[in-house]
Amino acid sequence: MDRARLSHLRELEAESIHIFREVAASFEKPVLLYSIGKDSAVLLQLAMKAFYPAKPPFPLLHVDTTWKFRDMYRFRDEYVAKELGLELLIHINQEGLAAGVNPITHGSRKHTDIMKTQGLRQALDKHGFDAAFGGARRDEEKSRAKERIFSFRDGQHRWDPRNQRPELWNIYNTEIHRAAGINRAAGTRGESIRVFPLSNWTELDVWQYIMLEKIPMVPLYFAAMRPVVYRGGVPIMVDDHRLPLEPGETPQMKMIRFRTLGCYPLSGAIESNATTLPEIIREMLETKLSERQGRVIDHDGAGSMEEKKKEGYF
């Protein structure tokens, strides 16, 4: 191999592996936040590589809003838990569930806040995780462009964009205040760190890596005939009976796929014939829409991602 010309993907891979190992070595209780999507798939592959031949020395956590696509649940349970044999924790915000919080009557903002943001905080507190890996990339959104790889959170999981630690070379400051002894017993929460090993990856890098590494994916990323209704011109998949139909509305079978996966009533599909990875990549490169546009939450107002992050959303 030409020493001066390591391909950018191998360089990114090496950087991510370095980050995984650094966290595993420096924190008491790390966890990998697993969302079943393509970024999580890459994250998981990198974690497998970082500790090979051992398995990753931390569990996976899925914060379940109960509104994911059925294909996602199947993939999670069959591939990740069974085939890879990894420890998978699932957390559902039981209070939210009991209150019947859902994206349809409560709207995307409230649903996401309660089931996802609060659910995540509950799970982190419950297990006492001090470091959580996430699959966020800096190229996703403008406010994420400034996020550090090691993102410091206070005891309330809050992110302060003005109080970030400088991050130099590949030397990461892993020091945090841990609630100890009597304070921990009294329920005082220590600080924690969110870690983003894919920070420097772009959407194209993620897809290309999936292709090169032959990483298994949820089928929803590939085009297929699926039942949809149109909401505001966006195809929404009717994944189960919970999606209320307007009077006279009937689901139509369309050749669709998803660029990003979230809660199904909040995930807009795109009409597509891309059934292979190269076709998906071509479509992605040719499309004029930015990736997160399919997700409804970002349209709540300028800088809404930034507001959510300050509250503890990933």
């Binding site: 020493r3 391909s7 360089e11 891979e13 290309q208 800088g303």
Partner: protein
């Protein structure tokens, strides 16, 4: 439109081929630095826009923002493609490091976008730490500013070898024909080159441009017919990569010991530099145990070799003790191992300054150790590059410090090896990353060997059996060191020799240590740089101290141009038995005499670093005895008169016992 049109065609025609090519692209990380109004965000927006890396809805949002808040009269303000956080958008300033990504047919790029205001030096150092290249933006109307100098210095400090001087806003300075002004461009480039001669050598590429109008960013400008160099993008696509990587010295800091079962024990880490193969002899530092590499393990199979920046797992032939924070190297090519190190530090903590004596956590690769700053050697004024003493380093200060660590560091000088030459200091109370450090080779450090701790710490010298009093009685003198300093040709050696003769004739014992004579023996490894001159004097002073120990009066003749180094000499020998004698002769007279032919050689250009010419001679303000030779007199009579003054001085200091 350029190559990206071809890229687009390839994507729709043959995506597999496109991906095969894309897979082989390498990665350039670069930094953009400029002041608030230099047009930095506009330049980045222009790069992203003209390489078609902006999605249409992002463009639409930026256009909407431009109408509401923009500065371009409702036109698209490219800066809005870039400026991220809400508060920044409202203030119209970028306040943090932001990373941007784009790809062309040739390469993938990561931009570290860092701000230019004075209070954010730390962000720039942060952005620069992983970059190969830096773009310094200069507003052509204002020319090289204090900020430009600061940016040039910081990028140099962080070891960036490729600089682009982007002379921006040239559309606002045009010549009579309406073209961008070549004179203004040349003037700015000259001013920059003049300043950068004081920095380590780097490749500098100056490009005339207008980021706002797009001239010479991606598209070649019609307004610069006098410029034949590359556009910014062409340069970024072709500049050589990895200049900061060291492929010679194998260093493998162990990050994680991988022990899934009793049959496997692997040492995981990132190759910091050099190359490792199965079968290589390796040494574990700091323990110095040696063994052999068995396999280079990865998830994708064993490798025949590993080099930076690969993250791999090494298995070793023997069960040697090795854990996180240890470093594997090739025996015979070993880094420094020391608890006493010198480093340049950029201070980043706004809550508390760096003060000597305070303990920090030092993180150097995977190695972590308590450490405290023993001494601040100097602070560097980033505007003038002048060094001055400082009691503390405040936020955004840069200075050289001496650090003592609880456990030894295994390191190389940052200039030789970024991978093992960098560290951070973490405040123990707040956990903030308080400082970023770049380790110096012990010989480059301000204190040099004057302040470094001895390597051997376990030795105890044998006890004296003759007391100083006994010696003084026998010799009729008390030990003393006179350091004669002055320009080459000032007459210091002649005076020293004449004093030696006089002492001998009086039945006393003087000994001359001549700085130039040392260079053929104990200092034959030294040249004439500031550091080497300092080291030569140090060796001379160690010798003087040893001679004083046996009772001799030492007459040391050294140019010793640095006041701070002379002060160290005084400290080393001991203030009560040391005196500085300034032999002053005007430079012109020294040149005429030129006993060693030094000035003639300098005139021919065959030597440099000559004190008084191209190296500063700091006239002593603390001399214990001044010998103004022109007043005292010329020739032998002058020397005799000077000897009288020296003898009288020794008398008053009690060095001669009746």
């Amino acid at each position: 439109m350029r190559a990206d049109q071809a890229e687009r065609e390839l994507i729709s025609r043959d995506i597999e081929e496109y991906l095969a090519r894309h897979e082989r692209k390498d990665l350039l990380r670069f930094l953009t630095c400029g002041s608030v109004d230099d047009g930095k965000s506009t330049l980045i927006g222009r790069l992203l826009h003209d390489t078609h890396m902006v999605h249409e809805d992002t463009l639409a949002a930026a256009t909407r923002d431009s109408k509401a808040l923009g500065t371009q009269a409702g036109e698209l303000d490219l800066a809005f493609l870039v400026d991220g956080l809400k508060s920044e958008r409202e203030q119209g300033i970028t306040i943090d490091v932001a990373f941007r990504y784009f790809t062309t047919a040739a390469r993938k790029f990561i931009i570290a976008d860092t701000p230019g205001h004075e209070q954010f030096t730390r962000n720039m150092a942060t952005g620069a730490s992983n970059c190969d290249l830096a773009i310094l933006l200069v507003d052509a109307r204002h020319g090289i500013s204090v900020q430009t100098r600061r940016h040039a210095f910081i990028t140099s400090l962080l070891g960036i070898g490729e600089i682009v001087l982007a002379v921006n806003k040239l559309d606002l300075i045009t010549d009579s024909s309406g073209a961008f002004s070549q004179d203004r461009f040349n003037e700015i480039v000259r001013a920059f080159e003049e300043f950068s001669t004081r920095l380590p050598a780097r490749n500098i590429r100056a490009i005339p441009m207008s980021a706002l109008k797009g001239d010479n960013v991606v598209e070649r400008s019609a307004q610069t017919p006098w410029y034949s160099g590359p556009t910014l993008l062409e340069h970024l696509e072709t500049v050589p990569l990895g200049g900061h990587r060291n492929h010679v010295d194998f260093r493998f800091p162990v990050q994680w010991v991988n022990r899934p079962n009793l049959d496997f024990r692997g040492f995981a880490g990132t190759v910091a530099s050099g190359c490792v193969k199965p079968g290589d002899r390796v040494m574990v530092l700091p323990s110095r145990r040696t063994t052999t590499v068995k396999q280079v393990v990865t998830f994708d199979g064993d490798l025949n070799e590993a080099h930076p920046p690969l993250s791999v797992t090494l298995t070793l032939a023997d069960e040697v003790d090795c854990s996180r924070g240890d470093t594997l190297v090739h025996p015979g090519n070993e880094p420094h191992v020391s608890q006493d190190v010198s480093a340049m530090v950029v201070w980043m903590d706004d809550a508390a300054p760096l003060v000597p004596g305070k303990e920090y956590i030092l993180k150097h690769g995977p190695h972590k150790t308590p450490a405290s700053v023993v001494r601040i050697a100097h602070r560097v004024d980033v505007n003038t590059l002048d060094r001055s003493p400082a009691p503390a380093l405040a936020l955004n200060d840069i200075g050289e410090v001496a650090i003592r660590t609880s456990r030894p560091l295994v390191y190389d000088a940052y200039t030789r090896n970024r991978g093992t030459g960098a560290f951070i200091l973490v405040d123990r109370l707040t956990n903030m990353t308080a400082g970023a450090g770049m380790l110096l080779d012990p010989s480059e450090a301000d204190g040099g060997n004057w302040t470094s701790a001895p390597r051997a710490t376990h030795l105890a010298p044998s006890a004296q059996v003759i007391t100083p009093d006994e010696r003084a009685k026998r010799l009729g003198q008390k030990p003393f060191t006179l350091l004669f300093t002055g320009l080459s040709g000032s007459g210091k050696s002649e005076v020293a020799r004449a004093v030696e003769r006089r002492l001998f004739d009086l039945g006393r014992f003087g000994a001359v240590i001549d700085g130039s004579a040392l260079r053929s023996g104990m200092s034959r490894d030294l040249g004439f740089t500031k550091h080497e001159r300092s080291e030569n004097l140090r060796r001379g002073m160690e010798l003087a101290r040893a001679m004083n120990e046996v009772g001799l009066i030492v007459l040391a003749s050294f140019t010793a141009p640095d006041a701070s180094v002379r002060a160290r000499a005084r400290e080393l020998v001991g203030g009560d038995r040391f005196a500085l004698v300034h032999v002053s002769t005007p430079l012109d007279a020294c040149r005429r005499r030129d006993p060693s032919g030094l000035y003639a050689a300098a005139a021919r250009g065959s030597v440099k670093d000559v004190p008084g010419l191209d190296l500063d001679y700091e006239t002593p303000t603390d001399a214990d005895l001044a010998l103004p030779m022109q007043e005292i007199g010329a020739g032998e009579a002058g020397v005799r008169a000077a000897v009288e003054r020296v003898m009288a001085f020794l008398e008053t200091r009690g060095a001669l016992v009746r």
